[in-house]
Symmetry: C2
Subunit: 497 residues, 2 copies
């Protein structure tokens, strides 16, 4: 029985949902109820979706509605058939894991393959993640997971180049935009860095959002190759190529469960890097009470796991634990962070010292990774490359190779918020600072966000400026200000005795 | 900001979903994206729902669409407000469980309370169930869970009656309709049994479906009390009263994960019985390769857990392991099972012996539970009650008290399927037999289903009848026949040597 597929105009996020009338011949013949899992086939492809049953007013009886993401992914040219979804065999491995059985490499391959094919419901993905969290994946299982995630996606290869470099920050620190500087330093020193970055998921800016205020980042694979050929590096948005696509699916579900799994994090990071063809990877783990990794024990556990899995997969990895006690740099939001990056690269007098210091540190680790050299010597080389202007020159080359460099814009609405008491800044809440920048419009509004005008240890008097909010609309400015005024202690002042 | 709520006409099963335009003022002010969890308040109540974002054509910008279940449950009289859902605090206990921390009684109370309030998304429920499955709930946690599930629902109490009896079968065996017979025997002996039963969830008939072909089962609480007062027992549909309502939610999600958790099963059964006011409970666990409980080890584990938890909760429980190797009785489907029940109660010559034997066995255990007497003596009493016609008389009294007894109907389409080879029946697949009855229309079509004309050990010749399919439409008859012909080995014949 064939049904004509129509776009329902309903955004269910990433979940495939189809809409059928209860009285449609297919629902009745197949005995389909609401929330049943159904297989949709259009002759070329098939996917599994969740069924919602709709009233007659909404749809014709011989039509089937597709949620927006399903419509975009399946892109049906003709009518489709609808049947009961088959049992997803690999779920038996997930049930085995629930009963404390280890996954084999084959189990994980089957699970990840089925998730990639869209066979798992969000519920089933949640069960897989929950069964794997809490340290229940052993080190070898994390290795299998990483490899399986690489295998279901696209991969880049770089014929004729032995060493491909990449870096990654596990995140959670607003303003921590070191990547453009590190890439400029490392590639100025001759390291090949085809860097792909994500847009913000929960943060006020991702590296791709920031770079987009400076150059073009939506590059296809040919354009990426051309940039790397011309400049030895690129800084592209990774979403255009499907590197480790299951990772995005898992992250979405993990996020709605607020689950942090060490094994999942390592597999997520390493699979993206392997898929991009990297074999030398620097990993930045900021540690702080309001960062993603909250204590040194967790950080050390991650460090070890990264080393083990990288070793198994033949990657050379260098893990650096950094201070995650407060935001890095001054700007938070795509364009505001881009301004900080430019200031550091141009050796501006007012460039934020913490961003410069951290970029130099990571740049040095990157150079040391390339020749197994001494960190101090590598630091001196990085410092020379940055302060001589070679990094800035190299950054411009990369932007040219991506279609030209531009200056980031400025938000029309700016408001400064002052201290209403005196004291010493003794803590800054990364999470609420990020939320404030998002309420001001970042990253959707690229020039929106905030400038953080103090760091921990600063003494402030009543009326001293603490934060400058940037917004693209009056409404968003107001919204952010109300949040700030209700959460003044996101910048915590210790009163002088 | 207020929005006018409208019924969307979309059946999302039990999940609360709201539909909002991306350009609605609320989405923009609150920064709401598809799949965000939002709180909906109408002045009197509030619930949490999942957001789907819709195209402008579907909804006005100042309206908010409700999925059918949300519309029915909230029944909004006026406009509603929409805000970001607060963090569900009790999820931190679930995350603790993932990290192998035990639940406290307070943790489980909070989780079950939040699920009852509709604060958990299906994803979060899946995480709770997965973290609790695989034997991860210890015996005390199962006790806390049972009690918490009772506390969030309605409860029945029976002032002036010390002992209230109930029975339960953990399921998985088609045709196993002993309850009406056991209730008749036990209440004829003076035991008070206010029995509430469910409709079929995945099976071709639940006790409520079968009883509905014989009398009225949709009784409100006053009607239940009246029946028990007049006849000492009732056999009502439990869905009209909200006994342990979270159980239904958990079962729905467990089912879509195909998860079987011992702890969850015990809490499910005992919470329903406690909520119904029972303090003496007989539990039937059929064991067989295609039953719900597949081996004796699992059955014994369940047995122990039932005993421990019942003890903690002050319930008197008797667990009976029974043969789940093949269906019980002849009919499978609401009316066909009712015919078997009537035949046994009326002492018909052709009544299925296995159903009669099993009902006597369970009836005897029930009587023994009431006076801690010897099983053999109890069996003799049960046998006397049944064969003398007292059970049949009592059954009629109960039906009268529920509004009168009627005869079950007959399906217009009947077709017999014969053996296409000779041999000895050596296995019958409960699951495929159930599926066959459902394809014929059961339980939606009350007279549909099948008669199983052989049992394990029977010798058949080519052309001997094996199964008689009953359907209410030609289409369903065809559908079932095709399935049977493709799955003849659901009745497995061992060829004679």
């Amino acid at each position: 029985m064939k049904l004509k597929a129509v776009r329902m105009g309903i955004d269910t996020h990433q979940e495939y949902v189809v809409y059928l009338r209860a009285d449609s011949a297919v629902s009745r013949a197949e005995g389909l109820d609401a929330s049943a899992r159904v297989m949709i086939a259009d002759g070329k492809r098939h996917v599994i979706a969740t069924l919602n049953v709709v009233d007659p007013g909404i749809l014709s009886a011989d039509h089937i509605g597709f949620s927006n993401v399903l419509w975009d992914d399946l892109d049906p040219v003709d009518s489709v058939t609808v049947t009961h979804a088959p049992v997803v065999e690999s779920m038996s491995a997930v049930r085995g894991k629930i009963y404390n059985r280890d996954f084999t490499a084959g189990d994980i391959e089957a699970v990840i393959g089925d998730i990639a094919r869209g066979y798992y419901s969000d519920l089933q993905i949640a069960a897989f993640l929950t069964a794997s969290a809490g340290g229940r994946l052993n080190r070898d299982e994390v290795g299998y997971l990483t490899r399986a995630m690489v295998e279901v996606g696209d991969t880049l290869d770089w014929p004729g180049i032995d060493c491909i470099y990449d870096k990654h920050c596990v995140g959670g620190l607003p303003g921590n935009r070191t990547t453009p500087i590190v890439v400029a330093i490392a590639s100025a020193a001759g390291l090949v860095m085809p860097k792909t970055s994500s847009r913000a998921i929960t943060s006020p800016a991702g590296t791709a959002d920031t770079m987009e205020t400076l150059t073009q980042v939506e590059l296809d694979i040919d354009r990426i190759r051309l940039a790397v050929e011309n400049a030895g590096a690129c800084m592209a948005w990774g979403g255009g190529i499907k590197l480790s696509p299951v990772d995005d699916v898992l992250i979405r579900v993990e996020r709605s469960l607020d689950l942090d799994s060490k094994g999942q994090m390592v597999a997520s990071v390493l699979s993206k890097k392997m898929a991009a063809g990297a074999n030398h990877v620097l990993i930045d783990i900021p540690v702080g009470p309001t960062a993603k990794v909250r204590d040194l024990d967790t950080a050390r556990g991650l460090h070890e796991l990264f080393n083990y899995v990288a070793d198994v997969l033949g990657l050379s990895v260098s893990v650096v634990l950094t201070d995650g006690g407060q935001p890095i740099g001054r700007g938070i939001g795509p364009a505001l962070e881009a301004r900080d990056v430019l200031a550091v690269l141009r050796n501006d007098e007012n460039a934020p010292a913490d961003l410069r210091d951290k970029a130099l540190e990571l740049g040095a680790h990157m150079l040391a990774l390339s020749d197994a050299g001494h960190y101090d010597q590598a630091w001196c080389r990085a410092h020379e490359i940055l302060s001589s202007g070679r990094a800035w020159h190299q950054f411009q080359r990369i932007c040219e190779a991506q279609g030209g460099q531009r200056e980031p814009g400025r938000a029309p609405w700016v408001h400064e918020l002052d201290a209403h008491q005196s004291g010493r800044v003794d803590a800054i809440d990364n999470r609420r600072i990020a939320r404030l920048a998002k309420l001001a419009g970042a990253p959707r509004a690229p020039t929106a966000g905030l400038e953080l005008l103090v760091t921990i240890g600063d003494k402030v008097a009543v009326g001293d400026p603490l934060v400058r909010i940037h917004a693209e609309s009056q409404g968003e400015l107001d919204y952010a200000m109300v949040y700030y005024l209700n959460n003044r202690d996101m910048i915590h002042l210790e009163r002088s005795p």
